[in-house]
Symmetry: D2
Subunit: 348 residues, 4 copies
Amino acid sequence: MRGFGMISVDQVGWLHHDRPLCGLLDAIVRPTLVAPCTSDVRVSHGWAGARGDIILGHEAVGIVDEVGPLVTQFKPGDLVAVPCVTPDWLSAGVQHGRRVSHDTGEQASYKFASAKDGVMAEYFHVNHADANLALVPSDVTPEAALMAVDMMPTGLRGAEAAEINFGDTVVVIGIGPVGLMAIAGAVLRGAGRVIAVGTRPVAVAVARHYGASEVISYREGPLSDRLSDVDRVIVAGGDVATLVQAVTITRAGGIVSNINFYGASEIMSLPMSRWGLGMADVDIRGSFCPGGGESVRAMLALISAGRIDPTRLITHWLSGWESVPQAFALMDSKPADLIKPVVALDER
Amino acid sequence: MRGFGMISVDQVGWLHHDRPLCGLLDAIVRPTLVAPCTSDVRVSHGWAGARGDIILGHEAVGIVDEVGPLVTQFKPGDLVAVPCVTPDWLSAGVQHGRRVSHDTGEQASYKFASAKDGVMAEYFHVNHADANLALVPSDVTPEAALMAVDMMPTGLRGAEAAEINFGDTVVVIGIGPVGLMAIAGAVLRGAGRVIAVGTRPVAVAVARHYGASEVISYREGPLSDRLSDVDRVIVAGGDVATLVQAVTITRAGGIVSNINFYGASEIMSLPMSRWGLGMADVDIRGSFCPGGGESVRAMLALISAGRIDPTRLITHWLSGWESVPQAFALMDSKPADLIKPVVALDER
Amino acid sequence: MRGFGMISVDQVGWLHHDRPLCGLLDAIVRPTLVAPCTSDVRVSHGWAGARGDIILGHEAVGIVDEVGPLVTQFKPGDLVAVPCVTPDWLSAGVQHGRRVSHDTGEQASYKFASAKDGVMAEYFHVNHADANLALVPSDVTPEAALMAVDMMPTGLRGAEAAEINFGDTVVVIGIGPVGLMAIAGAVLRGAGRVIAVGTRPVAVAVARHYGASEVISYREGPLSDRLSDVDRVIVAGGDVATLVQAVTITRAGGIVSNINFYGASEIMSLPMSRWGLGMADVDIRGSFCPGGGESVRAMLALISAGRIDPTRLITHWLSGWESVPQAFALMDSKPADLIKPVVALDER
Amino acid sequence: MRGFGMISVDQVGWLHHDRPLCGLLDAIVRPTLVAPCTSDVRVSHGWAGARGDIILGHEAVGIVDEVGPLVTQFKPGDLVAVPCVTPDWLSAGVQHGRRVSHDTGEQASYKFASAKDGVMAEYFHVNHADANLALVPSDVTPEAALMAVDMMPTGLRGAEAAEINFGDTVVVIGIGPVGLMAIAGAVLRGAGRVIAVGTRPVAVAVARHYGASEVISYREGPLSDRLSDVDRVIVAGGDVATLVQAVTITRAGGIVSNINFYGASEIMSLPMSRWGLGMADVDIRGSFCPGGGESVRAMLALISAGRIDPTRLITHWLSGWESVPQAFALMDSKPADLIKPVVALDER
């Protein structure tokens, strides 16, 4: 079968791999909608280390094509949303919610385009199908469901980890699709004023839609010149200097909640004076998308209830397998009018 | 000075008391807006025990008339919202957030119309003014601020204590003003589907405005015939049988969050079979309005940011001291079109 | 094969069932040590409803006899401790720690002597072996490990759910084996003074060993005559009247943590005046043993580090299959010198 | 009156200041026992910036000499323990436990030797006496109570912020007095194996007494060569490189809890690869001693119940005002046999 992936660092293209085998507890899914993610782009450029001959992609909605004989909750033909993080739920580490995204090691629950081929293929494999798939309900569109597999749960996880109190002032740094979902998530955890940091006009408008009280630019000098003593900061963009800025502007007793993905070679230089000499009661948290079917179902429940419409993220619709490379290139070049591209795959 | 209060059980009317004295840390406030509360009515009927010759009322916005010499944050002329619960912040019990509403004993932080005269008077007394008053900001109307002193913080506390996860199905029983705020609060803690229980058309419409997905009636048989396995239940109305119903419909691992006020003679009969024989991991919580200036400021921040408009609760505007008894009578008789009456007091 | 079980309500004896079949993810274990539990006795008397022809027992340490082909962490010959609660970890409900003990319904993760035969048999079946077994480490004795499958995790769960703050006064009602472990658990969550409630001399001595500051008797009148305003109460014995007493003596802002098992016909009559008219900020929690291999491993880590020696619970050692009925009868009659009997089964 | 303090950076000696004035809510205390703290030494060397002509010291037990007229819970002659952190409890920031140690700004609740003279004086001032003093109960020795004002609450706060689960492996870096209390605290939050990092023989023995399973040296190469995947790390010593090591050895989903005091000029260089590229779900927390009378009372309750004997920290007893400089010099030079010196002041 055909898939779009990483041939080697900085080189992407079509790969031809065997259709994956379906284990006893697993499913094979045929994607109908996929979206490339900034982290696919970063991985293709070597952020997670050298890697090659692997199909990329971890955001898909599709049709179940095959299930293992021990799968009881899903059957071929079901329309499903597939979380980008699919833990091995029989691994002891995930029990009691302790390290769901890190089943047998750091980020090990993230398997697509890492431990195995990703979803930008004619067929892809899902481990522990009963626990890792979510049916798309009839009142949720497939494209909304597609946003529920990574953009929404990652952004909302950033808000959740920020432990927002009612009325808190929350700064969200970065208004890419995850940052935008963090804005929506902050509002749905009780934030008062939400200050978003970003510049691209297309995203600024959507940030306001999701509840940003104001949007400021990082281009006009360090955030710490303009903000201080904020209750919570969610970091969804930038680099290690941004993270230091986030710590700097947080009040004593506040929380910095990071959901940004840094490069393996980045080093944060945090002056202890910015962190209250170690005694500011400021937590610095770095979260990963939680994963699993239940996590996606929570997002679908929010969409179904009208709490969030994540389709506002979708700025570009492409169609057919041939357009997958173009969607990927869009995510890499990030033209001014792009937030998130979606590819509708061939009907067969 | 004149005040409207409880002469004895079941008898309300005008009382003439001395203007309260202002302690060193205290303030005297002249109310400009007051609202009677269902709990005033209940107290007047003896729910909290025999009591007499006491001015009622605990919801007010007003002008600071006098401050003690140790008060540094407020001055005469300030427009302030006064929390219904005003803890003694030097009492050890409130430290570290342990029992804020219960400073020196159960509900002892609730002082209006309990330990001292309430707010339906020409002047009323506020202990620990620096810690217990909140300035009304210029972008919040006085009537919105009035809703921020009890209705909002009590309703939102019900949602907070429910520890809602994103996407949870939440049932809110009771759609009086506190229940309506609990609906809004549930949405602002991440609820998916919110099922409100109530019947009065005026309140049903407002429930939908605040985010209820549907509104069902308690008149069509026990809730447990129609609902089961819900994630969270917030109880903001009814009696002890309602509370048993709430426990019954909650899933294993769920939470029942009570913010309703029961009579001292009510006895709940909870069959252990409804509570998983004690092993259902269902928490039954009963919260009180948290109190203090910071708590009100959190509500004002939500209003200011446009997250909640609590003025949708106000169905009746009355004017002048002479209408205070009428407002109280409205709250007692609860006509079909009433949610919350507000009295604008004489300008002087 | 032979097993000791419930023939019908109030009638126990030997049953002859087929050796259980081992599923692909499962294990078959041959017990070497078993202990009857009060809840086995209660079930045999119909507390959980009519039931018959089922092997009892849910506390065992044993040797793995067979594993399914998908099991990777265990092999025949391994000495394992088996949690009394063995969730289906592929059930969505258990994800993120939400309802671990209630996988597909209330207490449904409790499978022994409920959904299938229990452990007092020559062989017993364990679902999801990789996730539900725990190796007994070389520095933990088998009998200590046996206490780690129900008595310890249930007692410690009671302490954990009580959310004890450093220095809190904690009352533990009931000094059977679970209550004794709750005492030890309260100390290991930071309790200051621990007041145990019980009378049997053998248990009183062990209560003091585990850290009870004092032990008082429930025979000398209601607890509420002698205790009030306590921070936390853990209920590990008694009946619904005991639970009402627990609520009564808890301070505003406190927590009642129940780990007792009530009969399906018991009804708690809780006067609302004892619960602050619903507004005391007192939580009433009812927990179940959490379950799973990781939960048992946590207990084994405590034993291994010398934090708790649970073998102080063991007052009676019996030997051989023939003594199983006697051990069960002991648990039913509870002679004065009994805390917990253990049966060492035939070497083969 | 006389006091021992900081004349200028790197210069300490006797100062003669007026006896402090007692405000309406305050107390003046005459110390009977004081202990110098490493942070006094660090402040004297300019870690917290240039400062001079200020009396040092923030650990004292003493006799109340005078109280303001609004103080109701204490009277002259009372033997009290005085927390090192004494918040302004009428400051809105401390409400609901939000930023207790940071009332009006970062660490602003820490007032001794910062906003005003410290406790190594004939008399010292305590703001909000009712809320910030704790009576020494008759069953706690004064020297034990002295350890309850900073060493215990800071060490135990480190353990509390680590949110230890039962059985967790906890590394405590640094075995000075605060680190030793963190060891004891980790045990009292449920730690399994506790690995302490330190070298001084006198402290190693006490570390074992408080529950360290083993003590390793930081001199034998980086911790990350010997430890990995630990559940929790409490940092109570070292420098910014130590903090990076702490992050490195923590498992995904773990917590690093810092209670160490860094210099204003230190800069932590944290490679993002050590922090899971921002996605390891590892929290980095930096806490300050919580403060207030209730916090000290919690410690006294633990001592009284026999859960911790903090007097094991005291290696040196000195006597009389004349020995204060010697005690301070000991804390500065840290001879091999020192953990904590205590000075018994002149009886008068």
